[in-house]
Point group: C2
Chain length 335, copies 2
């Protein structure tokens, strides 16, 4: 079962391919009667232009690539969905790849996308990524690149939330509610997103002249297990924290479950707030306070920034989408 080509149509009608090509694209230079015949036959035979021939001809693919740490993670799933939707609206196909939050996979994904001759790439670097030369190299090869969610300072357009400021607000809110021993669960120190959130947390503490207890700051690998053991350690301290700020959804969920499994009460024994999806918060009892991120907007902006670049705009734009704290029961004021 072969696909039908312009040549097939041309042969059947005893005309030249170039005539068929013109007719099907509505160009001048073909008689109304002949055009009608060609269009008709094409429709009858279910003719579909071969995108590979067109790509080859124009060296253009109308395809973009996306690299994401984990598509099955709610946060990214929503952003990816939005990107795909925007892309399709604008006539672009979307190839989604998943790095599993690992540097090596990320490199693979990117080279795969480059091989595919995608016209642009939207990427959220893995938590392991500290060397960005593979991404800068793409830029040098004139392939538009946009970062989202996590963005290093390397002169590439990006869309992120107000990491530092939101963490500061969250910490302030905990302090307002009476917490004085606030723990911070973060990702790798080399990751700007995590560093920024930690920075906001530290700033808030300083503003309130609350001494920083280093043993309450846990930064490392982002994973369910890491969150679990870190929380365990926090709870086992001689003077355990009275609040936890989890700077990532996975850490928030694992900390939450660990606290409850130890028989502690939230928020009476310990408060918790995290960067996480609203509907996960909605399912938890007590409902977790969380930093609400506009995932739709992040996806939309990411594609928009890429489109700008693909259309020749060389300026570097770093967009910040403001996230805001949503208070629920997990940080209710102490009695």
């Amino acid at each position: 079962m072969k696909h039908i080509s312009q040549r097939d149509i041309a042969k059947k009608l005893g005309v030249n391919v170039s005539t068929v090509s013109r007719a099907l694209r509505g160009l001048d230079g073909v008689s109304p009667i002949l055009r009608q015949q060609i269009v008709q036959l094409a429709a009858d035979q279910g003719y579909q232009p071969n995108p590979f021939a067109i790509s080859l001809r124009y060296d253009t693919t109308h395809t973009i690539g996306v690299v994401v740490p984990d598509v099955s993670f709610n946060h990214y799933a929503h952003i990816v969905k939005r990107i795909e939707c925007e892309a399709r609206k604008n006539g672009y196909m979307c190839i989604i790849t998943d790095s599993d939050d690992k540097f090596a996979n990320e490199v693979d994904c990117l080279s795969l996308l480059q091989n595919m001759h995608v016209e642009g790439i939207i990427v959220c670097p893995s938590q392991e990524t500290t060397d960005f030369s593979h991404l800068e190299q793409l830029k040098r090869a004139n392939i538009p690149v946009v970062f989202f969610d996590r963005a290093p300072d390397v002169g590439i357009s990006s869309v992120v939330i107000n990491d530092a400021e939101s963490a500061r607000q969250v910490t302030n809110s905990l302090i307002d509610r009476g917490a004085r021993n606030i723990a911070f669960l973060g990702g790798p120190n080399g990751m700007k997103q995590s560093a920024d959130r930690k920075h906001g947390y530290l700033v808030a503490l300083r503003e309130h002249r609350i001494p920083i207890r280093k043993e309450l700051v846990k930064c490392g690998h982002i994973s369910f297990n890491a969150g679990l053991t870190d929380t365990m350690e926090l709870l086992s301290l001689p003077e355990p924290p009275d609040a936890i700020l989890a700077s990532h959804g996975l850490l928030a969920v694992s900390a939450f479950q660990t606290i409850l499994s130890k028989g502690l009460r939230i928020p009476d024994d310990i408060a918790i707030v995290g960067y996480m999806s609203d509907w996960i918060s909605e399912m938890s009892t007590p409902r977790m306070s969380f930093v609400k991120q506009n995932l739709r907007e992040i996806g939309t902006v990411a594609f928009k920034l890429l489109l700008d670049q693909m259309q020749g705009d060389d300026s570097v734009k770093n967009v910040v989408v403001n996230a805001r704290l949503e208070l629920r029961e997990s940080t209710r004021k102490k009695p």
Copy 2:
């Protein structure tokens, strides 16, 4: 900034393209010294074969398509991730499209994939889809197709869970625990998955000679709001249900929240169990009993079935992955 081609390399070395082609593919018929030079130069210049030229040449794309009702829904996100991973392992790219659970979008997605000349399509039909002619037409055009999660009876390979049997087991378990007025929240009656689950539910009731109360069976659109209003109606009945079986994750979550928002206690006032993700169950208090589905296996099998077809196996295989009930606190036995 152009991509570098075999011709470029050939020119620089003063040899013919065909020689370059042979050298780069490790074929016979090129002297070791020349081959070395060619390979070296290609590496230096960052040569990447142009996939479109190859696709054009062989009429093969090494690409498969996936159509999913909602990538941002946890259940599908996990399956899609698995499919993408398996595909990549086997040298296939993956184009993921999202129908938003709407028939019209599904049709669009499929024609887009067909235009892309994908070599096979893995699809979970939307809940609105009752006419499958667009899918049967793909099969007739010799494009391999596999259904997953939801599969109508139309002679196309598929992988689903044991819908009827699992629903029967769940219902039995509720009955064992003392429930006698069990409500069923389902999807559209035209959807086989939902119909099968309802069937299992009804069978269990009949087996225990429990009269069927039609007002406890709510089948309609699958959405958060539908689940909410249906649950509201159930709770407002003169004789409200003492248990709810939610046949879809969205319905389970909305029913759960509705129950709690009405101030009712789970499971003391009403028990609930649903087809849903384990980790959502883990977050809820009380934790919801749920039907555990092996999403990894569903994804793996789906790709395997497609691969079989792409390799020429014409047989129709309908695989059933067994799901099993996991008991948690939301269905604890009544005191």
